[in-house]
């Protein structure tokens, strides 16, 4: 137990240090651009721009932290929230890896497997983005080929179809309520597809409520 506490204290210490370093790196980018180009933006322009996105994204980002952190564990959370692309890459990678390694989320084993998966995907994404930037002239025409567009535009259904069938089949009793509500919601209001990340915590709350009910009744 003491060993576990020591490890989690360690992760928390270096996780915070890296996160603060990431905050500094993020802010240094626009600061150094302003110094290099010799021009600072009008504060009112920045505020006007922020007014259009910050009220929504600050709330969504905050909710994402509370929704994904228990799934990803501390190491995974510190890393995933610096490198981004959580919904479409980091969380599915962590879930898939824990499932394949047969470890439970929230356990010590789950924590390290999730961190290994997220670190690996972060490295791969960074390499692919760098390769794409430096080989732009060669890669852009291929990736922009009209024939390939349906494949790339269908990446989320392709990802969650495969991932979903495993989890839903294994936990079908827990899956019924959130699935029915979400399908009904999206069919009734298709425009919600553009704000799916807002509905992730809603789906999670419904799933937790249904799970609690089934648990109390001794059905799961």
């Amino acid at each position: 137990m003491k060993e576990k506490k020591e490890y989690s204290v360690q992760v928390d210490a270096y996780g915070r240090a890296w996160m603060l370093a990431a905050l500094a790196v993020m802010l240094l980018v626009p600061i150094s651009m302003c110094i290099y180009f010799g021009v600072w933006p009008n504060v009112l322009d920045v505020l006007a721009g922020l007014l259009g996105v910050a009220p929504i994204y600050w709330v969504v980002c905050s909710i994402e932290v509370f929704t994904y952190a228990p799934m990803l564990g501390s190491g995974g959370t510190y890393l995933a929230f610096v490198t981004g692309n959580i919904t479409n890459l980091k969380a599915p990678a962590a879930i898939n890896a824990m499932e394949a390694a047969k470890v439970k989320p929230g356990s010590q084993e789950g924590e390290v497997i999730s961190t290994i998966a997220i670190a690996t995907t972060s490295i791969v994404t960074t390499i692919i983005l760098a390769a794409g930037v430096f080989l732009f002239a060669q890669m852009a025409p291929i990736l922009n080929a009209p024939i390939l567009q349906p494949a790339f535009k269908m990446i989320l259904p392709a990802l969650f179809g495969g991932l979903g069938v495993v989890y839903v089949a294994k936990n079908w009793k827990l899956a019924i309520a959130p699935l029915v509500v979400m399908i009904a919601l999206f069919i009734a209001v298709p425009s919600l597809a553009s704000s799916v990340s807002v509905l992730v915590p809603v789906g999670a709350l419904i799933a937790i409520g249904a799970a609690r009910l089934l648990y109390k009744k001794g059905l799961v």
Partner: protein, 243 residues
Amino acid sequence: MDFKNSAFMYILGIAVGAFVIAQSVYFLVKAIRRSRELGITGTVIRRTITSSAVFAVLPSVSILLGLITLSSTLGLPLPWIRLSVLGAVTYELPAATVALNAIGESISMPVSNPAAFNTVAWVMTLGCITPLIIIPLFLKKILGGVHKLRKRDTHWGDLFLTALFLGMISAFLGMGISDGLLSILTLLTSAAIMGVCGVFVKVLKVRWLENFALPISMLGAMGLAILYAELLPAELLPAGLWG
């Protein structure tokens, strides 16, 4: 060379990429060391790394497409930087659009001057910064709560975490099903390929496939999405599918 694609911007991009790699390698090494202490075998670790790396390729290419989309307005390095740290196309594109509108420019035209460019960079950066503040402050409390929950009642703790996964998966399955026939067919194809992989793993004991079932399902479904898009009548396809 214009200011958006200047050598300075590329140097910034390389520095940010190096930071992300350094952090990832640091966490990877720490997690591998811890996994050895927990008795997780080298084979499991190697499989986790290999399958995660293979799995990451397709979503990463999709992120690269987002970068290319933004590059016509912002050049290559700034979208590269933004998509490397706390970025996601679903956020960066609206943020850039709103910022450019606020200063009387448009996302459909290249940014005309460094002042506008810097404004966009600030809005894209500050608009998604909250996790870097919230996590150091609250993560310990959030995970402490989950730990207490599991300690008090392990079965309910496990159910709670499974329900969280299912909440996320349900939202995306719901979106997939409501998003038109092409999306439904892609989703079902991926699920079917995953089912076939399951048969190979469980019945025919093709164990290596277990770690690659998800990328194979994704690749197969995305490949067949191209075929479906060719075969389905145009009126059943999403608007703007081909470009």
